[in-house]
């Protein structure tokens, strides 16, 4: 804040499509200062030569799951994909470098499980420069330098120019290894180059490794040939470069025994091999806007697409859902059964009936009104504010395993849930819940959705304004939570409706399972809408969960209690309930 050098403004990046164009001749294209990130895949031809289709598929998946969301999360813009890489621009060098670090670190994780010949390593260069912004590309020396930096970077490494370094050195706690001035192709003046090590402790190591690596690599090459050499580079980046300290060096193998004492960065400023800049550790000062987003999202919100393991749920599909029945593909065929079934999910232990009916969650109409949302019990629940609620309906219980499994059987929900039929479904991500409401809306011909956070709290309060719906004091045997009295099983939630309903006739609004709502997570109610709608941002990684679970204590059962969680991530206590028009 006090630092006016802070470039991490959240201002609008200049639109790439300068809009209203068609007019401006080329020489009037806007120029602007930007942090340019250029990346490409090391050994692309080799990868393609080895497995063309597989490589292509993996790269596409990385673009979708990693590259695009990570750039967006760091407020950058993807300018274009090049053959094997991409070009992005950012308002802020800090964000550009952060983005690059996230990509590189995530790739380490992804590579560990792959055979060597399939590992994909990016080389990334970041430069700060004046560029010309055209409709779908950017030009200028600033871009060329970024590309050259990328060209000289080692696979898995991130090189930045001196200009970027000056901007970020006090803001990002990384190790910066000066590589001196480099003459780069077709650029007149030499460029000062720094190598970014995400982990400052790796610095000392990296410095020493400089001498080592050359020797090691050549030895490696001799011994192992190309693959081995390549692997080394992989290896060296992966543990964040930490070769043996010469002293402790029995050098059992070229690979270092990382001395965990290493992290003290400024410890040995003696060597002079390359000047190392160790930044003062200053927590990057938040801009006011920045503060709004609490946990810096790092990676893709779209994460669990393919990996979400069919393996992890030992396919214990609930048996009695004669599947194949509720096909989402045929919405028009179904409408009959949906209305016919005046629901009651808890009833009907459904012996495998020949005519399987769609079990839709039982809905309770909630009248419109206004109420005071929030409380003073936790910073996240402030300020208390007035919210108007339009009439809506909400499910009487959290969605059950039985209800969920219909969606799985219809192949519209990817997560195969486990648990008793009448138990609330758990281990559901927000993305999973969206699959369910989409499917349910389609087969029932009604609009199901997640409730907004305001609707959820209003419904949970049941018309009261007290700390709990039953009063201001905790009471035993009122909710399925830890230390709350009554029946309890630490390993799973009790079946739905095991405790009293609130004044609106809703069960398990507090305790049982955490329940996703539609809203993006905001750390408090500053700027919250007052019309009962979901509070959304353009993109959000975290969404709100309500209710607390059976594993939380009674303070989480309060109707005002709220938490945020990554929308793409599953956790064993998370479930949801649905809302619909009245």
């Amino acid at each position: 804040m006090s630092d006016d050098n802070d470039k991490r403004t959240r201002g609008q990046v200049y639109p790439f499509r300068p809009g209203r164009n068609g007019s401006g001749p080329p020489d009037e294209l806007p120029r602007r200062l930007a942090a340019i990130l250029a990346a490409d895949i090391a050994g692309y031809s080799r990868l393609m030569g080895h497995d063309e289709e597989g490589t292509h598929a993996r790269i596409r998946r990385q673009r979708r799951e990693l590259i695009e969301p990570t750039i967006a999360e760091h407020h950058g813009r993807l300018v274009k994909y090049t053959g094997d890489g991409f070009l992005a621009m950012f308002d802020s060098p800090v964000e550009a470098v952060r983005c690059a670090i996230v990509i590189q670190q995530t790739m380490i994780g992804r590579n560990t499980s792959l055979p060597l010949e399939q590992r994909i390593l990016y080389r990334i260069g970041v430069n700060l420069g004046d560029v010309i912004v055209d409709t779908d590309d950017i030009y200028g020396e600033g871009v060329n330098i970024a590309a050259r930096l990328e060209g000289i970077a080692r696979p898995g490494d991130l090189y930045i120019s001196g200009g970027v370094y000056e901007q970020i050195k006090n803001k990002l706690v990384c190790g910066y290894q000066s590589l001196g001035d480099r003459q780069v192709k077709n650029i007149t003046d030499p460029v000062t180059v720094y190598r970014v090590l995400p982990d400052p402790a790796a610095l000392v190591a990296a410095r020493r490794s400089n001498k080592f690596i050359g020797a090691i690599i050549s030895v490696g090459l001799l011994i192992l040939g190309g693959v081995g050499g390549y692997f080394f580079i992989v290896k060296y980046y992966a543990p964040q470069a930490s070769p043996p300290l010469a002293t402790a060096a029995k050098v059992k193998a070229p690979e270092p025994a990382v001395t965990p004492s290493a992290p003290q960065l400024p410890s040995k400023p003696t060597e002079a091999t390359a000047q190392i800049e160790i930044p003062k550790v200053i927590p990057t000062p938040p801009t006011t806007t920045e503060k709004a987003k609490t946990p810096e999202p790092a990676v893709t919100p779209s994460a669990p697409q393919l990996p979400p393991k069919p393996t992890e749920a030992p396919v214990t599909v609930t048996p009695q859902q004669a599947p194949a029945t509720v096909t989402p593909g045929a919405p028009p065929s179904k409408p009959t059964e949906a209305p016919a079934q005046t629901e009651t999910p808890k009833v009907s232990p459904a012996p495998p009936t020949p005519v399987p009916t769609l079990l839709t969650p039982e809905m309770i109409p909630i009248p419109g009104n206004s109420f005071s949302m929030g409380s003073s019990d936790d910073v996240s629940e402030r300020p208390i504010h007035r919210v108007a609620i339009k009439p809506f309906a909400i499910s009487k219980f959290p969605v059950t395993v039985r209800e969920w499994s219909q969606c799985v059987a219809a192949k519209a929900c990817s997560y195969v849930a486990t648990g008793k039929d009448e138990a609330p479904v758990t281990n559901i991500s927000w993305d999973d819940a969206q699959e369910f409401v989409r499917w349910l809306s389609q087969v029932s011909q009604k609009t199901f959705r997640l409730p907004s956070e305001a609707e959820w709290e209003y419904a949970a309060r049941g018309g009261t304004q007290t700390k709990y719906w039953w009063g201001d004091q905790p009471q035993p045997d009122m909710a399925n939570c830890k230390g709350c009295g009554g029946a309890y099983d630490p390993s799973q939630p009790l079946k739905i409706g095991s405790f009293k309903a609130n004044p609106f006739g809703l069960y398990d609004m507090g305790g049982s399972v955490d329940q996703w709502v539609q809203d993006c997570w905001h750390k408090d109610y500053q700027g919250a809408p007052s019309d009962g709608s979901a509070w959304l941002d353009k993109t959000c990684v975290s969404r709100v969960i309500r209710s607390g679970s059976w594993r939380n204590d009674q303070s989480y059962v309060r109707p005002a209690s709220r938490q945020g969680y990554d929308a793409a991530v599953r956790y064993p206590t998370h479930g949801f309930r649905v809302a619909a028009p009245p």
């Binding site: 706690v173 609490t294 990996p307 938490q563 991530v569």
Partner: protein
């Protein structure tokens, strides 16, 4: 031939143990989890960016079952011992970074607070042996 090659590589580079994929994910012995910032005893004014350091393992999304990779959990003022056989809890004192985040903006009320990192596997279980950082204390002004 290929095996020989791999063996050589392993020998020369002392490969991290490539673990079989199963429950209770094994972690390499030299996995090292720590705070890049803040450090033990740091006095901080207001909110801060907490940065997580991990060596000899990779960071990935929750749900991703790659070996030798996990995601961060930040424990704030947690006194209860970690249960190695249960999922890392999720509440206001156990923050999850299942998106693969390696840093987070943290805001705490003034006073002393403890921070500790725990690496979780695809299903939020601690590794075996648990990969945890030293518990540090920060002082918020």
């Amino acid at each position: 031939m290929h095996n020989v090659l791999i063996a050589l590589v392993t020998l020369v580079a002392s490969l991290l143990p490539t673990a079989a994929l199963s429950q209770g994910k094994p972690a390499p012995d030299d996995a090292y989890l720590y705070f890049v910032w803040p450090q033990d005893g740091t006095v901080i004014k207001g909110g801060f960016w907490c940065r997580f350091g991990l060596r000899n393992m990779g960071v990935t999304h929750a749900g991703d079952d790659f070996s030798n990779a996990g995601h961060h959990h930040l424990l704030i003022d947690v006194d209860e011992p970690l249960d190695p056989n249960d999922a890392i809890p999720q509440d206001k004192k156990h923050l999850h970074f299942g998106g693969g985040q390696t840093e987070a903006r943290i805001e705490l009320p003034p006073g002393k607070h403890t921070l500790q990192l725990v690496l979780g596997d695809a299903k939020h279980y601690p590794f075996k042996p648990p990969v945890v950082s030293k518990k540090i204390t920060v002082n918020i002004k």
